[in-house]
């Protein structure tokens, strides 16, 4: 609870920009300010009934002002935790920022080119971009200065890279998700290679150390998932794939629950990642299909002709599209829903601690009350998400094994 209360005050970046345009007089006295007006800017002044200036709107006369405005307007869809606040709740426009819950949640769910730590601090990641005009550009995302500076024609807005001039480019950057996948893959390789070496060294002896941890899990996957669903004769070929899938998904799920640097990436909650996993399963299943399998799909025996016309498209669609798609959506939606719930409950603290204007972190008592409410729920949800991580990895593996088993099954012909 102390941690949450300190979070409320320490992390000003969770307070978001107001959506009004440059508006220096918002919080100051209502007389005209001798503000800095550049040569090429126009000031439109609104006066209220007493003739006092209540709002000054700056528009720029520069030729690329419309481009910048278009880019800024696009950022409204993407507004998320903005790490560029200089100072305690003040943005560079001089006002105070409201707490934007939608931006916070989507900023954490979606991929981004740096790991935001706290306040202004972020771990930058390399951007690897290729376009026809400038060739390959490799640079750290810190060059963007949290989205304030355009670099080499690229604009970085709250985690999303774009190019205002519309040139097509290829994005091979190491984003948060790529980094997390590489990290999990490396850790799993180290783990399993060391376990394999231990098995070779200690031939015939009882397992010790990490071996003793991995062995029951491995045996569980081999016996209760692979052997049972695929059958005694053919299961060995598929065990490496199933073990890999299980531990990869488990590792990524668990890393997504850790709230800070190596872990805060929501990888399995990214539909592109689950799409690829489901695609690989679909390829493995359909490539190892026997003639019986395809025969039953396309030309189901024992069924009259007019039913076959309806049945064949349904079966083909089911095997090639719907079953992998259900694998993809199940993993994606479970993990993303869990993350959204946890983020919403933590945002409850910020909302409780905000003042009348919606600026977070203003009320200590409110922060305490919010923490008292939210912390037990967040703990509970995190426990459920831990269970869901294991369960979803198990379900993905079991269903893959089931589909593989259906594909390689040998029927006795009647």
């Amino acid at each position: 609870m102390l941690f949450c209360s300190t979070l409320t005050f320490a992390d000003k970046s969770y307070a978001q920009k107001t959506k009004t345009p440059l508006n220096h007089t918002q919080n100051y006295n209502k007389t005209a300010q001798p503000s800095l007006i550049a040569q090429n800017e126009r000031i439109k002044v609104d006066k209220n009934s007493r003739g006092v200036n209540i709002k000054q709107t700056r528009t720029s006369n520069e030729p690329n002002a419309t481009v910048n405005k278009a880019v800024k307007n696009n950022s409204k869809a993407h507004s998320s935790t903005h790490a560029a606040d200089k100072g305690y709740g003040n943005n560079e426009h001089g006002g105070e920022e409201k707490f934007d819950i939608k931006g916070l949640i989507f900023g954490h769910i979606m991929d981004s080119h740096d790991f935001h730590l706290w306040g202004d601090l972020a771990v930058p990641l390399p951007c690897i971009l290729y376009d026809k005009q400038n060739g390959l550009s490799v640079f750290m995302s810190s060059k963007f200065d949290h989205g304030h500076v355009d670099y080499k024609g690229y604009h970085y807005d709250h985690g999303a890279l774009s190019r205002p001039d519309g040139l097509k480019y290829w994005d091979f950057s190491i984003t948060k998700n790529v980094f997390a996948m590489l990290l999990v893959a490396t850790l799993l390789s180290i783990l399993f290679l060391s376990v394999a070496k231990a098995y070779r060294r200690r031939e015939g002896q009882a397992p010790k150390g990490v071996q003793a941890f991995i062995e029951p899990l491995f045996m569980f996957i081999r016996d209760d998932i692979a052997k049972e669903n695929i059958g005694e004769k053919k299961y060995e070929k598929f065990v490496p794939y199933l073990v890999a899938i299980f531990f990869f998904i488990l590792g990524l799920n668990l890393f997504g629950l850790i709230p800070i640097f190596p872990g805060s990436a929501n990888v399995t909650g990214n539909i592109a990642v689950t799409l690829v996993l489901a695609l690989i399963t679909a390829i493995v299943v359909n490539a190892s299909g026997t003639k019986d399998y395809w025969g039953h799909l396309i030309n189901m025996p024992g069924v009259p002709g007019f039913v076959k016309i309806v049945l064949t498209p349904i079966e083909l669609l089911g095997a090639l599209i719907i079953k992998p798609a259900s694998l993809m959506i199940r993993l994606f939606a479970n993990i993303t829903a869990g993350h959204i719930i946890i983020l919403s409950l933590v945002s409850l603290i910020f909302m409780f601690s905000s003042d009348a204007n919606g600026v977070a972190g203003k009320s200590f008592g409110g922060g305490l009350v919010g923490s008292a409410l939210a912390v037990p729920f967040v703990l509970f949800m995190n426990a459920i998400e831990l269970f869901v991580s294991f369960l979803q990895a198990y379900i993905f593996t079991t269903l893959s094994a089931l589909y593989i088993g259906q594909a390689v099954e040998e029927h006795e012909h009647h």
């Binding site: 209760d224 259900s326 959506i329 939606a333 479970n334 829903a337 369960l391 198990y394 379900i395 079991t398």
Partner: protein, 71 residues
């Protein structure tokens, strides 16, 4: 009604379906284990698989609701 309102109602209906389905699966599984405790392990495994399939269908609806909220 706004898109967000309709999406929320859709998501609620989906969760209703999921809750009913998984509740029935759990109930029948418990009856099965009560009748034949030796088959407990098999029944538990089958229950989890069936629950995941039903939940997958409900999550299709949730994803569509999310799309409705975002558009």
């Amino acid at each position: 009604m706004t898109y967000v309102g309709l999406a929320a109602i859709g998501a609620g209906l989906a969760v209703l379906g999921a809750g009913l389905g998984i509740g029935m699966i759990g109930g029948r599984a418990m009856e099965g284990i009560a009748r034949q405790p030796e088959a407990g392990g098999d029944i538990r495994t089958t229950m989890i698989i069936a629950a995941a399939l039903v939940e997958g269908a409900a999550l299709f609806a949730i994803v569509v609701a999310l799309l409705g909220v975002l558009k």
